[in-house]
Assembly symmetry: none
Homo-oligomer: 250 residues x 2
DNA sequence: TATGTGAAGTTGTCTAGATATCTAATGTGG
DNA sequence: CCACATTAGATATCTAGACAACTTCACATA
């Protein structure tokens, strides 16, 4: 009836923590207690124990098979590390020195796409920054960033060697979520020249919108990577729910 | 959870479908029925209605705020993030009909890349399948699949309209994890012809290795999408819901 | 030996409630 | 007009069950 102790933590969260520890200590494939087991052990109803397990399955930490039981996932995914990375962080992580070559940085009218992406009023102005991105001195991509006009202060910053995201973070804009679209196109002659390409090769284009904690967009970026010099690496769990029996008819 | 058994759909799935339609027709920010509303409307208990909403919230389609209600998400997100999806599922989610045109299907010697990807002994043979993938009848991509020779039985299957993954699942190969590399290149003249392109445009190339529960690779696929007709969506939480990193080819 | 049957155990789905906690809107007093 | 208390309504958590669907394994049978 009561049960909402002085403790601020929900019962299922307590069970979750307990299971996390079990996963950490155990080996992939090890069997976990059943829902009924957990319910009895913690003195809760099965539905409560179930919620704990489902949350972990959601995270990919455990795998559940109807009729068979719940097991430690083969490759427990630890979702702590941020996957949203700035170019500078990206390069640093790979042991490459990132630098930039500023092409343009000014306040200008927003394009229709930027207005929609950043949810700005009609005919707004944005801070537009265009840079060539280099890795160990080799041109890797051309990047076009658009920020709300409030960020105009960034124009006074060093955009060739400094990190744009570090400045934004200092100003209170912290990335919480990003949406990306990844596509490709053939380089224009101007891009071939800027990026030191040998011919009109392919560009890997990433269009990205970054949101803050309140789900407000504050950065729109289009980065066109030289495909021969850059590959995106992605690892996907089979199912978001962690249930390995999910249907994948092809 | 997701069984192909269309005869019996769970109640919460029915509610989910109904809500999906609502989201599709409504505008971002629009309020959705409350859990109690739904429960009454569909004649189910509140917990069942709740499950439907939670699933959609998980997908990022709706946003729920305790005390306030549930709303259509600002940007209904399409779930490609951190989810391994078959071509057919992918297309269905995008609302188009998927089909295939078989180019080749036979047993042949594995390439060096396939031997490494599938961890095969030297000079192994693989089942190689090449198909044109169509969306609503329009060529979208050319796909080259390589499977271990044990899967030779798949050659007897209907690869134009049948389900490769369904067959593999029956044979005990269930996808648990996938690694992808996403790059780009310019189409060859042969590809321009096969894919009904107007010129030598860009292709978005995804190379993918699928692993089973025991982390053994069992499928190597290279899919080259016509960039003008296909874009990859990705959403990343800063808390980390999927891993997407980039690498420069050496 | 091979096969099939059945029981036990597990997760999936669902019920019909309950209390707790939070949000947003309303109303009231200064 | 503003600040604060109230309140209706929403989600969050939880209960104590139920039956269905599925997996596994022991056991009996051909």
């Amino acid at each position: 009836m009561n049960n909402q102790d002085e403790s601020h933590e929900a019962r299922y969260q307590e069970i979750e923590r307990w299971l996390r520890d079990l996963v950490l200590r155990g080996a992939p494939g090890d069997a976990l207690p059943s829902e009924s087991d957990l319910a009895q052990r913690f003195g809760v109803s099965r539905m409560t124990a179930r919620q704990a397990m489902q949350n972990l399955a959601q995270e990919g930490l455990i795998s559940r098979r109807r009729g068979a039981g719940s097991y430690i996932a083969q490759r427990p995914l630890h979702r702590r590390e941020s996957t949203l990375m700035s170019f500078t962080d990206d390069m640093r992580r790979r042991g490459v020195v990132a630098s930039s070559q500023l092409l343009d940085a000014r306040l200008r009218s927003a394009t229709a796409g930027e207005i929609e992406a950043l949810r700005l009023p009609e005919a707004s102005r944005v801070v537009a920054i265009s840079r060539i991105r280099l890795a160990d001195g080799v041109p890797l991509a051309v990047e076009h960033v658009a920020l709300p006009a409030e960020c105009a202060g960034v124009l006074a910053e060093d955009l060739e060697s400094g990190s744009l995201h570090e400045y934004l973070h200092r100003r209170g804009w912290t990335p919480a979520l990003a949406r990306s679209w990844i596509g490709a196109r053939v380089a224009t002659p101007a891009e071939v020249r800027m990026l030191d390409m040998t011919s009109r090769g392919a560009l890997l284009v990433e269009r990205r919108i970054i949101y803050d904690q309140d789900h407000r967009p504050f950065e729109h970026t289009e980065t066109a990577y030289v495909a021969e010099r850059y590959v995106i690496d992605a690892t996907f769990a089979a199912t978001g729910s962690g249930t390995l029996t999910a249907a994948t008819p092809t």
